[in-house]
């Protein structure tokens, strides 16, 4: 009745129609709650779970243990970087503080209007009986024996020995030290000598002169060594004996010798250098 060719065409049309219909029907309910899909899921999923679980387990081990080696390396590197940065920060802080102190010294140089050599303190006296420090400037920098040494706080001492690159500075607290001084307020004169550690004595102050605790003592300039008006210290105690023409005055130096780091050496204008 139908030719073979016609039967193939009709079959093809039926298949296309069924396909379209089934797709059209299934698209309305994409996830059927029953059918062979569930069986497949039931069969495959446990294995999937096991495989994925195992993979995750090993990945976890890798990431949390073996991979930690890399993290540890990172940590070490960051810690080293941190240390470096901290050291740099410390250096900057030190440099900043030094800069402040240098500014003070520079201000002092401009104030005293004399050439000066900035030096760093590199060592202290090996004996507790004498008060000297070693500064890192010497003859090559224009420093000579007898040059006065000051800092922003006041008078430090005098150069007592000098080599090409270093100078030994006797502090005003040394028992051998003597500086001609006046009490700023009353203009009473005296000689500042080294006393106990951290203290000086102001000798030869006449009893008739009024001196009070807290008065500032400055250099008189009469000794031809220290510039006039540089602070030396403040009066700490006064004892007026019944007899005698002088009063016993002790004073606290303006300079904190425990924390002395930078000083200013003022080369004296010697006769040969004078025009």
């Amino acid at each position: 009745m139908f030719s073979k060719k016609m039967a193939m065409v009709i079959g093809l049309i039926i298949l296309i129609t069924i396909s379209i219909l089934s797709l059209s029907l299934s698209s309305r309910q994409p996830y059927p709650a029953y059918g062979p899909g569930r069986v497949a899921i039931a069969l495959v999923a446990p294995f999937q779970k096991a495989i994925v679980g195992t993979t995750r387990f090993f990945r976890g081990i890798w990431e949390h243990y073996f991979f930690l080696v890399a993290v540890r390396e990172d940590n070490d590197r960051l810690a080293a970087e941190n240390r470096q940065l901290r050291a740099m920060q410390q250096e900057y802080r030190e440099a900043s503080l030094m800069n402040d102190r240098m500014r003070e010294l520079l201000g002092l140089v401009q104030k005293i209007k004399r050439p000066a050599v900035a030096a760093q303190v590199v060592g202290k006296d090996p004996s507790p009986w004498f008060q000297t420090v070693m500064a890192d400037k010497g003859i090559d920098d224009g420093v000579a024996k007898g040059d006065p040494v000051i800092n922003a706080q006041g008078i430090v001492g005098i150069v007592v020995d000098v080599t090409a690159h270093y100078a030994k500075v006797m502090l005003i607290t040394d028992p051998n030290s003597a500086v001609d001084a006046v009490v700023q307020h009353s203009r009473a004169r005296g000689i500042v000598k080294g006393g106990a550690a951290g203290y000086c004595v102001l000798d030869f102050v006449l009893r008739k002169h009024h001196v009070a605790v807290g008065d500032v003592v400055v250099s008189s300039g009469m000794d031809q060594v220290f510039p006039k008006g540089i602070p030396i210290g403040r009066v700490a105690t006064i004892v007026r004996q019944e007899a005698g023409i002088f009063q016993d005055v002790t004073m606290t130096p303006s300079v904190d010798f425990e924390r002395l780091e930078e000083v200013l050496i003022i080369p004296l204008q010697r006769k040969a250098e004078m025009p």
Binding site: G123, S127, P128, V160, K168, P175, K193, G195, A197
Partner: protein, 176 residues
């Protein structure tokens, strides 16, 4: 070699004393660390080693200290000679006596410095805390003197062992 060793040790001690120790609060009145070495040299080492070293120590300290030249040199020579003389009558191996020797050495140095300040220096006055300084120095000497002597003695023994290994022929010649 021995002389070089003591020169290096003394330089190290002086550098420590002038840079690190002043920053430590309890050590501000610490005694002269070269005194135990001077005492050890006087009691246990031959004169040919002791005398040049004592002269070196004295000159080094005189150049670093604020005192006059010769003050430490004289002090060390007196300590060296005095201890050597005393060693004729005393048992030098006794640790108690050695501790006392260090304390006596430190006291003697303080005495010499005070005499200088009281009688010889033109304007020097002894510090007001003199008594405290002297007492602290003697206490430190009594506490640490034996330790320093033991360290020096141990180092010297080790040095002798090395010398035996490095220069055996030269040492044999010297013994003959």
């Amino acid at each position: 070699m021995t002389v070089l060793f003591y020169v290096l040790v003394s330089l190290c001690l002086v550098i420590i004393k002038t840079t690190l120790i002043p920053g430590l609060p309890l050590f501000e009145k610490f005694y002269d660390l070269l005194i135990p070495i001077v005492i050890y040299l006087s009691l246990f080492r031959p004169l040919r080693e002791g005398i040049p070293l004592v002269l070196f120590f004295g000159l080094m300290m005189d150049s670093l200290c604020g005192g006059p030249v010769g003050l430490y040199l004289a002090t060390y020579i007196w300590i060296f000679a005095g201890m050597r003389w005393a060693s004729q009558f005393l048992r030098t191996g006794n640790m108690v006596l050695l501790t006392l020797a260090v304390a006596i050495g430190v006291s003697f140095e303080c005495l010499v410095l005070l005499i200088y300040m009281l009688l010889l220096a033109p304007s020097a006055i002894p510090p007001e805390d003199t008594a405290r300084t002297v007492v602290l120095q003697i206490v430190w000497a009594l506490l640490t003197g034996p330790v320093i002597l033991i360290i020096i003695s141990g180092s010297q023994k080790q040095l002798d062992v090395w010398k035996e290994r490095i220069f055996p022929d030269w040492l044999d010649m010297n013994r003959q």
